[in-house]
């Protein structure tokens, strides 16, 4: 997802837990929210920083593929809409960084870890947006997949994270609808426009399925995160839900899911579908996707070129505060 393959620390059986750890797990099992000043196991804190930080980085880096089209949107209205959507994503990054900061890491530390390659962001943002139809596909599929993951996280055990998710979910449905609206317009347009929409779906389908991460039904990390309720569903559950929801939407557009093995399975009440190429996924995570280098360059450039503004505004504020105090 926006946080993929987060390794969790901890993983203790109940009889190995200290009394404090037992009491903590009891609180979570009772459905209580953990708040910043509450006692928590070090593993819970570290895993959350990793997960929320990765989620925040994804929101911010995720602005780049869409920002690519703001100046080239086909109409002024579409341009305003896309601008608002990308601005929302900046806000999502802020909410999540703020949630992570309550765990004792600073915003600058998180940024520096991203820029040093010590933290990750979602694999999906390492794919290019080549045509305007890609902006439709991103809103429809990428934000759609994000919603699948974020809705259950509104019930996550860590209070600030859950509250950030509530705010984010309120805004996401605009994102998905504006994407689908672009797809509808193109699918009903000329033959060339419809072909562009199909091409965008072809390229974004499997990367979207990868967003949920590889199957984690046997993963100890996921088991720990689920015990802590910082992960609510397995990756396979969410992927299945996403496919089942998306197939009819594609049919409505008159577009075809690029999977010859896609078939309704009456028994399970869902579609059978092909897995993405997981070796491609691991390559992208390692930094070898089509746009990894470009994305990191853009983030580093923004951080470095913005330094004088950050420092200058701080110096100005300090000078004014000092003058005020001297009065």
């Amino acid at each position: 997802m926006y946080a993929q393959m987060v390794t969790s620390e901890g993983g203790k059986a109940r009889d190995e837990m200290t009394p404090e750890e037992c009491a903590f797990q009891d609180r979570i099992d009772r459905g209580e929210r953990i708040e910043p000043k509450d006692w928590m196991p070090e593993g819970y804190r570290k895993t959350l920083i990793r997960q929320i930080g990765q989620h925040a980085h994804s929101e911010v880096v995720g602005q780049l593929p869409e920002g690519n089209w703001i100046t080239r949107a086909p109409t002024l209205e579409r341009k305003q809409i896309l601008l608002a959507k990308v601005q929302d994503e900046a806000g999502h990054g802020l909410y999540l960084y703020s949630a992570a900061e309550t765990l004792g890491v600073s915003r600058d530390e998180l940024t520096e870890m991203l820029l040093a390659g010590k933290m990750k962001y979602s694999s999906i943002f390492n794919y290019p947006t080549l045509t305007w139809a890609d902006i439709g596909a991103v809103g429809w599929l990428v934000d759609g997949a994000a919603i699948m993951n974020q809705v259950p996280l509104q019930r996550t055990s860590y209070g600030p994270y859950a509250r950030a998710m509530v705010r984010i979910c309120k805004e996401e449905s605009f994102h998905q609808r504006q994407g689908y609206s672009i797809m509808m317009t193109m699918a009903r347009g000329t033959a060339d426009q419809k072909a562009m929409a199909q091409d965008a779906l072809n390229r974004f389908w499997y990367p979207s399925l990868m967003m949920f991460g590889p199957s984690d039904k046997d993963s100890v990390h996921s088991a720990q995160s689920m015990a802590w309720k910082i992960k609510i569903n397995t990756n396979d559950e969410l992927r299945q839900k996403f496919v089942d929801q998306t197939v009819p939407q594609a049919r409505f557009l008159g577009l075809e899911i690029p999977d010859p093995d896609l078939v309704w399975n009456e028994e399970k009440g869902g579609y059978d579908f092909s897995q993405p190429d997981w070796s491609e996924f691991y390559e992208v995570l390692k930094g070898n996707g089509p746009c990894n280098a470009e994305r990191m360059e853009a983030r580093i450039e923004a951080w470095e070129d913005g330094a004088w503004v950050r420092e200058g505004l701080m110096a100005h504020a300090e000078k004014r505060a000092a003058a005020h105090a001297a009065e």
Partner: protein, 94 residues
């Protein structure tokens, strides 16, 4: 030079005359900039008509371990709730 902007807590009062409510936090170099940034992030969809910002460092919070001693006394005083009193139906609405 590290010049991380301080953290501010943001409170917003909505249209309908309710109290200011905590909505989140953000970094800004000064109070004025914090208000500007809060306007840009936290009032994008008619959420409010008034913004307060306060430095996070200036907030004093109760400790979670005090939960018992702080709040227990009021839990015991059930007569503070109107439902404590049985008023016969014949009295009418009260």
């Amino acid at each position: 030079m590290s010049s991380e902007w301080p953290l501010w807590e943001v409170f917003i009062r909505g249209q309908h005359g309710l109290n200011h409510r905590h909505v989140g936090s953000l970094h800004a170099p000064s109070a004025e900039m914090a208000i500007q940034n809060a306007r840009d992030v936290y009032t994008r969809r008619n959420e409010g008509v008034s913004i307060w910002v306060v430095r996070s460092n200036d907030i004093t919070a109760s400790a979670p371990s005090d939960k018992g001693p702080l709040f227990e006394p009021s839990n015991a005083k059930v007569y503070r709730h109107p439902t404590f009193f049985d008023i016969p139906d014949d009295v009418g609405h009260m």
